[in-house]
Structures are given as structure tokens and as C-alpha cells.
Symmetry: C2
Subunit: 221 residues, 2 copies
């Protein structure tokens, strides 16, 4: 007998750092350990919908960026039973986030991507592979915006990319590239109550992106 589960790597951008939302397991196996939120799969739910359901249960969010990573199917990855898990990663805007511990989790916690605690099963591998995928994706598609508030400064955006890619980027060149793409809309607003020149705030416009994509657009950082 083979069981299927769906696990979610939920990324958030908090305090200029890339974080993953983890649960503390309430039940055995691996009770007490931190783990990815997830569920066993029902026969009448598609895997994508199952990931959406998990996400909604945990964060109360819908219509979130969600992409499958892959299936993890080593024989002994789960004790006693044969469980193949299909994992997804999600990008959420923490402005909209409402935490919800729920029935499988004792508590929820945002963990720094490069300071993960001990994790249940093969969940650390899954997170690492999710992070690799995110690094690649973020270079070719402007999905990073899903992690930011609706209005953000160019510095916010640069810090996000630095956190994801784990490198430092040159300010001048980063801004030139972003401007060339013409993806951002100036909201006309500025930061307030900051002890320096206030930054302009921008919005990402999905429509502009869709139009650009038709001409064979390539988001290159």
C-alpha cells in the first residue's frame, strides 16, 4: 500500500530575510519536530488543489503563487508506511498573512532559510530543493513580487533579490536593469517618517508583464 501526501514550502520575506513557514508537529510520527505543513491526499482532490487547501488552512490565503517542486519517493523517507510526498512551494505577502495553527500543528514559526532547525522526515532536502528552484525562477520570471507588499521601494526589491540569491548586488546596476524592464508603476507616493531622502514607492503591474511576455520577454538579473 502506497500513501500520497502533499507538502508546502511557504516562503515569506521578513526583516530583509527569506523565511520558511514551519509547523511543530502535534502528533506522531516525529511528534514535536518542526516540519513542512501538509496533508495526506484524498482520492477525489487534485494534487494542486490539495496544496491550495493546505495553504488556506495554515495562512487563510487564497490565489497564491504556487508551483510544484516534485515528488519525493525514497522507500524509507517516512517511518512504517510508504508515503510518497508531492511538494509545492508558495510565495506569500506577509502583509496579508493570518496565522492559523490548526489541528496538525502545535504552533507555526517563520524560520530563516539559512538557519533551519532539525526537521522531520526529508523535509530539509525538500526545502533546499525548493530554494534552488526559487533561485532559478526568480531570474527568469518576475515572481519575486509575490513576496513583497503591494507598494515597495527599489531598495526593498533589491534586498529581496539579495536574500533569495544569497549574493550582494550593485545598487546602480540593479536599478538600471529594473528600469529597462519597465515593469514597475510609480505610485507617486513616498516613504514617510524616515531620516533620509524618502524612497519612491512602486507597484508591479501584472498586465504590463503579460504584454511583455508575448514579445518573448526575459527577466535577467
Amino acid at each position: 500500500m502506497i500513501y500520497n501526501s502533499v507538502d508546502c514550502v511557504i516562503f515569506g520575506f521578513i526583516d530583509e530575510k527569506l523565511k520558511v513557514l514551519l509547523i511543530k508537529r502535534k502528533n506522531d510520527p516525529q511528534k514535536g519536530l518542526m516540519a513542512l505543513p501538509g496533508d495526506f491526499l484524498d482520492a477525489d482532490v487534485s494534487i494542486y488543489n490539495s496544496a491550495e487547501n493546505t495553504l488556506k488552512k495554515i495562512t487563510s490565503l487564497e490565489d497564491i503563487y504556487l508551483e510544484q517542486i516534485r515528488a519525493f519517493g525514497e522507500i524509507d523517507r517516512y517511518p512504517d508506511k510508504r508515503v510518497i510526498t508531492i511538494s509545492y512551494y508558495a510565495l506569500i505577502n506577509i502583509e496579508h498573512y493570518t496565522p492559523q495553527a490548526g489541528y496538525t500543528a502545535e504552533k507555526l514559526e517563520w524560520c530563516d532559510i539559512d538557519a533551519l532547525p532539525e526537521l522531520a522526515f526529508d523535509h530539509k532536502d525538500i526545502i533546499n530543493i525548493a530554494h534552488k528552484r526559487l533561485k532559478r525562477r526568480v531570474r527568469n520570471e518576475p515572481i519575486g513580487f509575490n513576496l513583497l507588499p503591494e507598494e515597495f521601494s527599489l531598495t526593498n526589491l533589491q534586498q529581496l533579490y539579495e536574500a533569495i540569491l544569497q549574493t550582494e548586488l550593485n545598487k546602480r546596476n540593479f536599478r538600471t536593469k529594473i528600469n529597462q524592464m519597465k515593469l514597475l508603476i510609480d505610485t507617486g507616493k513616498k516613504q514617510e517618517n524616515v531620516a533620509h531622502k524618502p524612497a519612491k514607492l512602486y507597484r508591479f503591474d501584472e498586465n504590463i508583464y503579460e504584454n511583455l511576455k508575448e514579445d518573448g520577454f526575459y527577466f535577467n538579473l
Copy 2:
């Protein structure tokens, strides 16, 4: 009840074209249609090993480049039963290939990637996604060599890339880039019995690649 299967998209490079190896289904459902080779998953076999087994049964090949694409889990992708399939793609060198129709297939056939016949289930989607993945991978890692004979000319290599990427490449620039990478070893041999200047034959050296990779190597076409 949920069933799991593993399907393989087997790529080959024949007559300057990228091909996929398909079977003609011997049994219902979808008897008579062309489909990807694959099997139901046993509870005591890892998904990777299951893909390897399918590959061996069909092609008699072992130690082949094999990478998971992802799981396909729509509710109605398979008639009557709920079957989630996990698909892999493989790159084989047709020099070494021994066809083997076996028990699920009436016959085997290499089909041109851009002239696929009608296919069973969602297998056309799977092939398209496999091809997209191959296009991306081939730009960042020198996996293309798995599709070529051990000794090949630069023109062979260029034609392979053109077939995979479905574009034309400039001869001069292609060769310059390949040379810059210093991945190829000159075998000292040349083509024979050709009515033009014979091309030099090269080998790809895995060791050189492994060394380069440590310095953060990037195969950029």
C-alpha cells in the same frame, strides 16, 4: 484508493532530429494508442528505481541520464481509477540502444518531437513539459552530450542544440563558445569517406566538467 505510476520520456537524437520513444499500448485502457513507457509503482521500489527499471526493460540500458519532471495528478487524467503519475525524462545515446517491445507494448517507435501522434491520457502534456525542461537544462549543464555518440563533430553538436532548442545557431559563435568552455577533448581522429573537408572528432570529458563546476561554472549558449 490512489494508484501511483511512473512514466518515462525517453529522448534520442536521430537523423538530426530530437525524438521521443513511444510504445503502442497492448491493453486497455486506451489500447492501441501511442503512449509513454511506464509502469505502476510497487510499494517496495523507490520512484527513481522504478523509472530505471522501465528504462532497462524498454531499452536494455543502465546508468542513463534520468531526471524527474514532476507528478501529474489531475483527478480525471486516467479513466476509472485515480492514478497519479510521476514522470521522468531520460537521454540516451542511440548507438547503444537495443529495442525491446515487452509485455505492455505492441511495438516501439521513435517519434519526432514536433510531429507527435495522438497520445493516451495526458502524455502529450507530459512530453511538452519534459521538452521545456530539457531546453532549460541544456543551457546550463552540458547534458546534451548524453544524446550523442562518444565521438562527434562540432557540427553534430550544433545540430543537436538546434534540434533541442528549435532555433538556428550561428556556426562561428557556437564554436567560439564551445571552445571557450574547454570541455571537449580532441580525439585526433577525423571523419572518413566524406566528400568535403573531414571534421575533427571530439569526446566530452566528465572529469573536466566536474572540475569546472567547482569553480561555479555556467554553460551558457
